[in-house]
């Protein structure tokens, strides 16, 4: 951890800061979020993901920092010696409430449990923006979900533009760079370039963007279809951790099983090999498991559509 700080100066091995009146020592280079958690506290996060560099876009993790005119994002700001941080002032509460409220007013967050939870915790009232939207001349038409391949769906009305998928697709994880942020401001959106369908993009279908999406704006096709059919039921699912059978790396994979059928594959985020990321084979190459168990290869409506042949 004794790396060069971004400013180019060598920090001491540890720094001591004060969080809500409590002294806490953290390794040099640690963020305020690390320090707050080390002090036994916590702050809400949305765009932050433990496997990615801090993004700092959602701003729900903002805290008050003595000497700073504005609030600062705890996920991104590094702890400096002697920093005084307050995590729960009225200013902080207002910003968090408003971030949740603005997100809820601008995206369908019904499948974004964290946004909904923070909204409740901080008392957001997204409904108060509704009459304005209804009366506005520039009414936002819903964007239909883009279902252009067998493996996953882009339902961008649910997108909160946290940038996680872009980072996971890019140099931090996959190095595929199939998607990026396009447009600007309120019209900014995730796009593969010229609104290309995924099969015509650079996408390699690793599904890692889906894995990090916090709102189901990116969702596996099988889950998407089952939700539409009303058959997706996490209460009836159990997770079996096993090893991916395809190559010598032997990534651990978690098979989500509902009614004795695999409905989704994920990887444990705390695994030192995968950090939660897989390739197309581990992510989608499990349909053969069911192939011999049934007669008639036709797809039933309640089955995951991600039942492509083995990619090999």
């Amino acid at each position: 951890m004794a790396e060069l700080a971004r400013g180019g100066r060598r920090d001491a091995a540890e720094v001591e800061i004060r969080v809500d009146g409590r002294e806490v020592r953290v390794p040099a280079g640690a963020t305020l979020l690390d320090a707050i958690r080390a002090a036994g506290g916590d702050v809400p996060t949305l765009c932050y993901h433990e496997t990615l560099e801090p993004i700092g876009a959602c701003r729900i993790c903002v805290v008050e920092l003595e000497g700073s005119r504005t609030l600062v994002p705890a996920c991104q700001r590094r702890a400096e010696p002697g920093t005084l941080v307050r995590t729960d002032t009225e200013r902080v509460q207002t910003s968090r409430r408003m971030v949740a409220e603005l997100l809820q007013s601008s995206a369908d967050t019904s499948l974004a449990p964290d946004v909904e939870r923070y909204g409740r915790a901080y008392g957001s009232r997204p409904e108060r923006w509704r009459p304005l939207l209804d009366g506005a001349q520039e009414v936002e038409a819903p964007t239909p979900a883009r279902v252009d391949n067998d493996l996953y769906v882009r339902d961008l009305d649910r997108c909160i533009l946290c940038y996680r998928c872009v980072e996971a697709c890019g140099e931090q994880v996959q190095n595929t760079f199939a998607i990026g942020v396009a447009g600007r401001g309120y019209g900014a959106r995730i796009d593969a370039g010229f609104e290309l369908p995924l099969p015509e993009s650079a996408c390699v279908y690793c599904g890692n963007c889906v894995a990090v999406c916090p709102t189901e704006a990116l969702v596996f096709r099988g889950e998407y279809e089952m939700r539409r059919a009303g058959t997706w039921d996490e209460a009836r699912q159990h997770v079996t951790t096993t090893t991916c059978p395809y190559c010598g790396v032997g990534c651990p994979i978690e098979l989500h099983v509902q009614d004795n059928r695999i409905v989704k594959a994920t990887a444990p985020v705390d695994d030192p090999t995968t950090h939660g990321y897989l390739c197309i084979k581990g992510r989608f190459g499990w349909a053969y498991v069911h192939a011999g168990l049934e007669t008639g290869a036709g797809q039933e409506p309640d089955r995951p559509a991600a039942a492509g042949a083995s990619p090999d």
Binding site: T94, W129, L132, A136, N175, R184, G185
Partner: protein
């Protein structure tokens, strides 16, 4: 065509770059102009050539096609999705077919006061709905073009039409349609210049008097004396002079210039110096006047900054809406280079420095310094997190000094006459002289240089001639869209950082847009709210959604004919608080300023008085 660059992470299947059709010959020709003498292998990884390439494609065909963008990506070895993210970021670039040439008609505050609305109606009658049609000429509305003193204005290709009248506009469109593009212009409106107070004119001393196209004339009128003295003094003493001058940044943030320089000078080389010529604050045009009427002073100032911090390369980032400023600086740089004021071993000293010009493509946020770096680097113009600050990690990840045009233009005189002399003008944090862009309801809109401490009323009445026809001032928008409305009761405030701050205002970039009593203030407030909604980069939630919601509340109140009821007030105040406190950059943090300050004049006080 160059060999296909292997894309990271791709298998054998062709990707979107390989599958793209070949570009049109005109697109390839435009790109060849950008690559110039660079061999194909020298273009690889040169992502900073992306924006120049996009601008060239835009100019050649009127929009940027998939095939052309894919060709750019193959040359620069970059992914399509990222290049598209950049191309779709800028207002002056189109990624869908549209007329080859667009008339970007300014409908911002100052031009609207001069009748831009009527011109928009005329354009609609002539050319149809904005941003539609297949013909050779289309039109769209534009945020402030920085021509406020001689509006209404329009940007057409690399020309600016000013002083537009309905008849003049029709003639220009007619000439254009008849293929006489060169004849299609409007203009001839001059810019009033004036000064008042001790030490003035300093920044304007050559403007309008000395040929800006002649290096000889510049030198004859005191030019490069500062640089000659600095070369004798050396970097440290040069920095000391600037420190003694008390000069603070003129872009709006008023940060001490010498402190910025010293901070970068302590960091390891290579270092860069950058001139922020992305003057995009609505109502501000003083940087444009400096670049067009005294370009060598800007170059000399940047050269002095480079000398002081030990930089060998500099960039000037000129906003895309200022083609004439770009030409002016380009011309000046060529002459300076030929005469040994730029390049290797300047004036036979050991100091080498050269400068490169870059043009923006329509994005207010790129005036934010870290967004500007990203724009030069070929990334989306999104501001970066700070710290680290530019002096540590700036352009291309290197220690960088970035200063506004007016700040740099002040430096040669400081070196020539001494920092102590400069500091003797003014007091407190407000030292030297200040340029003001004055427009709106005044007899003589123009750029005025005043000593700090001059009351606003004196500037508006003595220099700008007051409201035409003896009308009364309803409000003055001070500091642009990011600034505040001052009421007639506040016009005796002296122009200084301290005095304006005390009345809840800001000097900002130094613009004053005067609104007389006939103006519908709500319409102005709504235009400003729309400006921020349109110009937010979209990166952080408070600004991306907050500016949209702020516009909606303002529009709803205006539709209802006011007043601001308690519910609307609470919503505006909540938005103001989250935008100020939690936005990444100054754009979002300042987006509620004008709206909040208008509430006082409209009979409601904003609840958030901290800002």
């Amino acid at each position: 065509m160059s060999p296909l660059a292997p894309m990271p992470g791709r298998g054998l299947e062709p990707g979107p770059l390989e599958k793209a059709p070949d570009p049109e010959p005109q697109e390839l020709a435009a790109l060849e102009g950008v690559w110039g003498a660079l061999a194909p292998q020298e273009r690889r990884g040169r992502r900073d050539l992306l924006l120049p390439a996009l601008r060239a494609l835009q100019a050649s065909r009127g929009w940027i096609s998939y095939s052309a963008l894919a060709a750019v990506c193959r040359e620069l070895t970059m992914p399509l999705a990222e290049a598209y993210g950049v191309a779709s970021f800028y207002e002056l670039l189109a990624t869908e077919p549209r007329p080859r040439r667009m008339i970007h008609l300014c409908d911002d505050v100052a031009c609207t006061l001069k009748g831009a609305g009527m011109l928009a109606g005329r354009l609609q009658a002539l050319l149809g709905h904005p941003e539609q049609g297949e013909g050779p000429l289309g039109w769209s509305l534009s945020p402030c073009l920085g021509q406020c003193e001689r509006g209404p204005a329009a940007l057409v290709g690399d020309r600016v039409w000013v002083g537009l009248t309905p008849e003049g506009l029709e003639d220009a469109v007619g000439a254009w349609m008849a293929g006489e593009e060169a004849r299609a212009h409007a203009g001839g409106v001059g810019t009033h210049l004036g000064s008042l107070g001790e030490g003035t004119p300093l920044l304007l001393r050559r403007c309008g008097r000395v040929d800006p196209g002649s290096l000889e004339a510049y030198v004859e009128h005191g030019g490069y004396r500062g640089l000659r003295r600095a070369l004798q003094l050396g970097p440290e003493a040069t920095l000391a002079e600037v420190e003694a001058s008390g000069l603070v940044g003129r872009g709006g943030a008023a940060f001490p210039t010498a402190r910025k320089w010293a901070s970068a000078a302590r960091e390891p080389a290579p270092r860069y110096v950058v001139c922020n010529a992305d003057e995009s604050e609505p109502g501000s045009f003083k940087d444009r006047v400096l670049m067009e009427q005294d370009p060598f002073a800007v170059l000399e100032g940047l050269t002095l900054a480079a000398l002081a911090v030990g930089a060998e390369r500099g960039f000037i980032y000129v906003r895309g809406e200022y083609p004439e400023s770009h030409r002016s600086l380009l011309r000046a740089a060529e002459q300076a280079r030929a005469a040994g004021f730029l390049g290797e071993r300047i004036l036979e000293s050991g100091f080498s420095f050269d400068v490169e010009l870059r043009q923006g493509a329509g994005a207010y946020v790129c005036g934010e310094e870290t967004a500007l770096f990203n724009s030069i680097e070929g990334l989306r113009g999104e501001p970066r997190a700070r710290p680290p600050y530019p002096a540590q990690v700036g352009l291309f990840g290197r220690p960088t000094v970035i200063n506004n045009v007016e700040t740099l233009a002040a430096v040669p005189a400081i070196l020539e006459r001494g920092g102590g002399w400069y500091a003797s003008l003014g007091s407190g944090r407000s030292r030297g002289t200040k340029l003001l862009s004055v427009s709106g309801h005044v007899v003589r809109a123009g750029v005025y240089e005043v000593a700090f401490g001059t009351p606003l009323r004196t500037i508006l009445e003595d220099l700008a001639g007051g409201v035409p026809g003896g009308g009364a001032v309803q409000a003055v928008l001070c500091g642009g869209a990011a600034g505040t409305f001052l009421g007639p009761d506040q016009l005796d405030t002296p122009l200084s950082l301290e005095a304006l701050q005390a009345v809840g205002g800001t000097v900002g970039s130094g613009s004053l847009v005067v609104l007389d009593e006939t103006v519908d203030l709500w319409a102005v407030v709504e235009r400003i709210a729309r400006f921020f909604r349109d110009e937010s980069c979209g990166q952080c939630v408070p600004c991306r959604v907050g500016t949209q919601r702020q516009l909606e509340v303002v529009s709803a109140v205006r539709r209802a004919g006011g007043p601001v009821d308690d519910q609307a007030l609470a919503m505006l105040n909540d938005l103001a608080q989250v935008m100020r406190d939690a936005s990444i950059c100054g754009l979002g943090q300042l987006a509620p300023n004008a709206v909040q300050s208008s509430l006082r004049l409209l009979g409601r006080s904003g609840g958030d008085e901290r800002g």
